[in-house]
């Protein structure tokens, strides 16, 4: 998409999410109410088909376009699997398939293939509770195979996330895929793309946290004046802004690098670094915003927890700061001290 088209899409998405994915919808999902209308409209807008080529029934656009949309979705705590479905569709399309309608998700974990049948167990699969199909990439004999397994072929144990979204443990016991094909995207790469999606959602959520806390402090009056006029509060919010800025900057850089380097390998290191950074700062962002809003922000009534709880969940999804940090640390240690700056300045793994 050109810049103008993307900006228009993001503007439309922002307005749409603000109107249709409000507080009640987010709270509803937590109580197990599936927002069927919201999902239908998201599909009608083609959001989960961004970056899928038009000749494969997608709406076109780039990986960066998709990621930019996911940042907006994060900014509104959109409580449906728009990221997961878009990712599933992208992977299916890359393997030559055509995305199906309905909510999907990705099951990224240790799975095996016997003949055409899939076995294994993946925990904490996002939106397993509502997904109509599960997309996985299985590595065997150096080859990557993409499988699409329908919901009725697996067993699902509900393990809702701490943000109240319908995550679950999915057991494949010789499950028969409805589609399988050689995948140009490896399992490791699929995990990177998923981590990138989460980093961008975290950037959006972090932005919203800052805006929410700032507005609150401007309006909350104590000791006869808005608490935003107290220096202690000002400095706390400035520190919050610095953590939010790091989250946004790292995610956006990774998105750019992934897009420029191509679906199959672009921005590997940048994604790892960004997910490490975003996950690392989630704690400070939550701590500072909650501290600035006092008891009010700790209630279920307020929306702040829609974002802070997601930050806590998302930092763990698709690799935490320990997981990605370990990959980075291993690589830089293996390469030795003289490779540190050259690799860092080129945004690549050192070895």
């Amino acid at each position: 998409m050109d810049r103008e088209t993307r900006d228009m899409l993001l503007e439309t998405a922002t307005r749409f999410f603000a109107e249709r994915a409000g507080k009640d919808v987010v709270n509803g999902v937590e109580k197990g109410v599936w927002p069927a209308d919201l999902w239908r409209e998201i599909e009608e807008m083609g959001l989960p088909l961004i970056a899928v080529p038009e000749e494969q029934d997608g709406v076109g656009g780039t990986l960066a376009d998709l990621m930019a949309m996911l940042r907006v979705a994060g900014e509104h705590a959109v409580p449906v699997p728009v990221a997961e479905t878009a990712l599933a569709n992208l992977l299916v399309a890359a393997a030559g398939g055509k995305p199906a309608g309905g909510p999907s998700t990705v099951a990224l974990g240790e799975l095996s293939l016997q003949g055409n049948r899939v076995s294994g167990k993946v925990a904490r699969v996002p939106f397993a509770g509502v997904a109509e199909r599960f997309v996985a990439i299985i590595t065997a004999g150096g080859k990557s195979t993409l499988v699409v397994v329908p919901r009725d072929a697996v067993a699902i144990e509900d393990t809702p996330s701490h943000a109240g979204e319908p995550y679950g443990t999915v057991t494949f016991d010789g499950a028969m895929p409805e589609f399988s094909a050689a995948s140009p995207v490896s399992a490791g790469r699929a995990l990177e793309l998923a981590a990138l999606a989460r980093a961008m959602q975290m950037a959006g959520a972090a932005d919203k946290v800052l805006a929410t806390a700032t507005e609150y402090c401007k309006q909350r009056v104590q000791f006869g004046r808005p608490i935003s006029t107290f220096q202690a509060i000002q400095h706390m919010l400035a520190e919050l802004a610095s953590c939010v800025a790091a989250t946004i900057a790292s995610a956006e850089s990774a998105s750019r690098d992934a897009d420029e380097g191509g679906l199959e390998k672009g921005g590997s290191f940048s994604i790892a670094a960004a997910k490490t950074q975003c996950s690392d700062f989630a704690h400070r962002i939550a701590a500072l915003s909650h501290q600035s809003m006092g008891a009010m922000g700790f209630t279920h009534e307020h929306i702040l927890h829609h974002y802070t709880r997601r930050l806590w969940v998302w930092r763990r999804d698709f690799g935490s700061e320990s997981f990605w940090g370990e990959k980075i640390g291993e690589s830089f240690a293996r390469a030795g001290k003289d490779e540190l700056w050259p690799a860092l300045s080129e945004s690549r793994y050192a070895a």
Binding site: Q234, A245, S250, S253, T276, E326
Partner: protein
Amino acid sequence: MSIPKLEFPPFHLPAEAEALRGEVRAFLKETLPKIQSEDRFASWNTPSPEFSRALGAKGWLGITWPKQYGGAERSFLDRLVVTEELLGNSAPAGSHWVADRQSGPLLLKFGTEQQRQAILPRIVRGECYFSIGMSEPDSGSDLASVRTRAEPVPGGFRVNGTKVWTSGAHRNHYCITLVRTSGQHGDRHKGLSQLLVDLKTPGVTIRPIINLAGRHDWNEVTFSDAFIPEDCLIGNEGDGWLQVTSELAFERSGPERFMQNVYVLRELVRVLGRQPAKRASAILGRLIARLWTLRQMSTAVAGMMQGGKSPAIEASLVKDLGTIYQQDLPEIARTLAESDATTEDDLADFLDVAQYASMMAPSYTIQGGTTQVLRGIVARGLGLR
């Protein structure tokens, strides 16, 4: 109501800047081992006239300045790349640093033609070094309260007062000094001016102020009826505040705010060995990710500046995060090395490095605008004050 959105649009340094990076890197690889340095781990404030002259000979000082003053008329992004490589390779860049970063640009913007011609070509050659004469005993973060007075007398000014924390005054040639030329102490931003002070001027006395690590970087510079000729006034009389704030912008957004002690990270990589334990790798990786993020932020700020914007809040955020990172780094690295260094000798050596880095760490969040001053700027940007 809404707050201004924080944006850090990812920015690629242009190909010619990256090509320059290769040249600078090759030069440093060849030159640094030959340079005598008083520091085992040099940084942007470790002086070495020898190194500065070598860099000047390559044409990499005053790189953005007009050719008529010896500059190369290259882009601000080319300068960024040179800066990054100096920091990334721990080059002793202290002699020329201030002159190249802020004094030269200040003279270019506000100085007289005579001042430019007399000084800039010497900075470009790596021969002329500057100190910053801003802080005073009673005037730190509250810079507008400076008391040093320059009284107009026939042919110039008679200057009385004291500047402190004047880095390098004992080795540098000039000090751009913020003084009150008119009005009263309480007039704040009004009546301030900047003078180009030759540090050999009679009546100017330089005494060391030793820092807690035992180093002599700082000085106290006392003016006792020092006569400064009128052609040493920089810009207009009374415009000092405007000029000094423009100078401070150069101080805030550079990579020296997060790469000053990158040697700690490099040494940490060394002592952890080629195959650290998982937990150690993860902690190392988190430190690297933070540094990478800071670099992305700083590059994004550079991109915005190149595009004609003045991202003051974003620049302040980079310095705030960057200096705190530099403070955290030796502490995290020290405890990690204690549990995971491969040999006892390596550990002992590294603990000395980390200890030195920890001693220097308090300075990072003070110099060039304290964390609290920066957070005040950010808070204003957020519409809180």
